[in-house]
């Protein structure tokens, strides 16, 4: 049972990350691989505030979102100079930069040693120390993020985002300042990733820079490509699949000495096969 709760908490956290990245990649067509950096900023801000000041988790979560918002505004502004493949490369660079900051600003982040002993959230004297309660909290936040995403993508604003994805030059010719739209959604998306970071830090109670490397951003990208770009449900389904798949493979009777490697291979093969036969993802509404 503890195992299922643990997996469910991870799915919730990654579903929030998937939903947030889908706003930028799926709906606005900006191929960003910086999401793990914003996830990391949220996690670090929460970890540092909780361990050094003993601040309430929810206040730390909001401060984390604010700091992530400011960082993403600056990064988004620089990235807005790029298009398409160059955008992806630029965002790649920012993930590496932020990761190096986590690793090297040792007076603040303790570098590779990481930050241990992060307390669990508490609210009005109730502490979410049991995993089942932490799961409930994660699901509440996931639902909140899901409905915000649905609200955004269902609005006129969301329709403009999609038109930017389709032809930015054409939509600006019809009177839209696309830069502001791109910045707005980039910041909103980063702040959502920061929520996931706060949850992660407080759940694992220990963070170090290795959780926020570039491959984590690519994993989040894989979630939404698998689940389906430009579809909010797709992001949640994608997170569930990619977290569950390696777990399910644990129950396949590979010989012990090669089990771990076989799981990696099967996992990879399933992803490649899916992209070959269903490139729009499971329930996607947009193809890159």
């Amino acid at each position: 049972m503890e195992y299922i709760i643990h997996i469910s908490i991870l799915i919730s956290i990654y579903a929030i990350l998937g939903l947030s990245l889908n706003l930028v990649v799926g709906f606005t067509g900006l191929l960003s691989v910086t999401q793990a950096a914003f996830y990391g900023i949220g996690a670090y801000v929460t970890a540092i505030l909780l361990t050094s000041t003993g601040m309430n988790f929810f206040l730390a979560l909001i401060i984390g979102m604010a700091i992530t918002g400011v960082c993403s505004l600056a990064i988004g502004f620089v990235l807005s100079k790029f298009k398409d493949d160059y955008y992806a490369l630029g965002s790649f660079g920012f993930n590496v930069i932020i990761y190096s900051i986590f690793l090297n600003w040792q007076s603040l982040t303790r570098g590779p040693l990481g930050i241990p002993g992060i307390p669990r959230p508490s609210l009005f004297g109730f502490t979410f120390s049991e995993n089942v309660w932490f799961l409930a909290l994660s699901i509440v936040l996931l639902i909140l993020v899901y409905f915000i995403c649905r609200f955004i993508t269902g609005s006129s604003f969301g329709r403009v985002l999609k038109s930017i994805r389709e032809d930015e030059g054409a939509i600006s010719a019809f009177g839209y300042r696309t830069l502001w739209y791109k910045l707005a959604i980039f910041v909103i998306s980063a702040m959502m990733a920061s929520i996931a970071g706060s949850l992660f830090a407080s759940y694992i109670t220990f963070i170090d820079p290795s959780s926020f490397v570039l491959s984590e951003s690519i994993f989040i990208l894989a979630i939404i490509i698998l689940g389906g770009l430009a579809n909010n449900k797709g992001a949640v389904i994608g997170a569930a699949c990619l977290i569950l798949l390696p777990e399910i493979l644990r129950f396949v009777g590979f010989p012990d000495d090669i089990a771990a490697q076989m799981r990696q291979v099967v996992y990879g093969v399933i992803l490649v096969a899916l992209m070959l036969y269903r490139p729009q993802g499971l329930i996607g509404e947009y193809r890159l």
Binding site: S155, R159, D167, A170, S172, F174, G175, A184
Partner: protein, 257 residues
């Protein structure tokens, strides 16, 4: 020179110049567009017709020269997103739709709020839907409203661009009265051509300045009140279509002799 001073041109260009790698695509071009008229722009391929429209609508920056809107607003540099507020809109030669969006959303997106904050809290209203229905019915695409734009036939895609221009007139950004149509008839069936010519005449009768780039001389003759002939980015001739199209130098420019 043809100059009708009784009616002030709604858009004037003064010595507009644009060159690419030393080749002048548009060279010191000064021409006028009037309200309530259809102005044709013709010329061989590469004569600078589309480049002219692209500079005037801010899709590419002007090297030098200026444009004067409604006799008052002098503009040297115009950004694409400001063009609508000066009353201009356009279609594109290489049809530019929002491909992976339904037909209806291609129209709604130009009808709804421009400001981010308002757009976030706005779902398109009944009024927007009514306008979208009106313009889509006009070009015969209302039945296709839920199809993705990329699944339309070539002619239908061109008609959707026309519908999007009509939607811009209702969008509340600026007072759209200058409409550039970049080869709207290319690849259309006769019934579709009839729809587009009908729309153009209607716009003209509403007092809009309609600017038509076109290669089909029969349509130019039928529709234009005045035409400009461009060759290598320069003005070769202008006047009434009947007179201009009979000129020897114009015919030669077209035949490349």
């Amino acid at each position: 020179m043809w100059k009708n001073r009784e009616q002030m041109p709604i858009l004037e260009t003064k010595h507009i110049t644009k060159h690419f790698d030393g080749v002048y695509a548009v060279n010191k071009l000064s021409i006028n567009f009037e309200a309530g008229k259809i102005t044709g722009i013709i010329g061989p391929n590469g004569s600078g017709k589309s480049t002219l429209i692209n500079t005037l609508t801010g899709m590419i920056p002007i090297d030098s020269g200026e444009m004067i809107v409604a006799g008052a607003e002098r503009l040297q540099r115009v950004k694409a997103h400001e063009v609508a507020s000066y009353g201009m809109t356009r279609t594109f030669q290489d049809v530019r739709l929002f491909e992976q969006m339904p037909v209806i959303d291609n129209i709604l997106v130009v009808l709804t709020e421009r400001s981010i904050w308002k757009a976030l809290f706005e779902k398109h209203g009944a009024l927007h839907l009514e306008k979208a229905e009106e313009v889509l019915k006009k070009v015969g695409l209302w039945d296709k409203r839920d199809e993705l734009a990329k699944n339309l036939s070539y002619g239908q895609r061109k008609l959707l661009e026309i519908a999007r221009v009509l939607a811009m007139i209702h969008c509340g950004v600026g007072d759209i009265n200058i409409i550039f149509l970049d080869e709207p008839f290319a690849g259309l069936f006769p019934e579709m051509i009839k729809i587009v010519t009908g729309v153009m005449k209607e716009l003209r009768d509403q007092g809009k300045a309609v600017i038509l780039i076109e290669h089909n001389m029969d349509l130019i003759r039928e529709l234009s009140d005045h035409i400009y002939v461009l060759d290598s980015g320069e003005l070769l001739a202008e006047g009434k279509p009947g007179d201009v199209l009979a000129r020897k130098d114009v015919i030669e420019a077209y035949l490349g002799e």
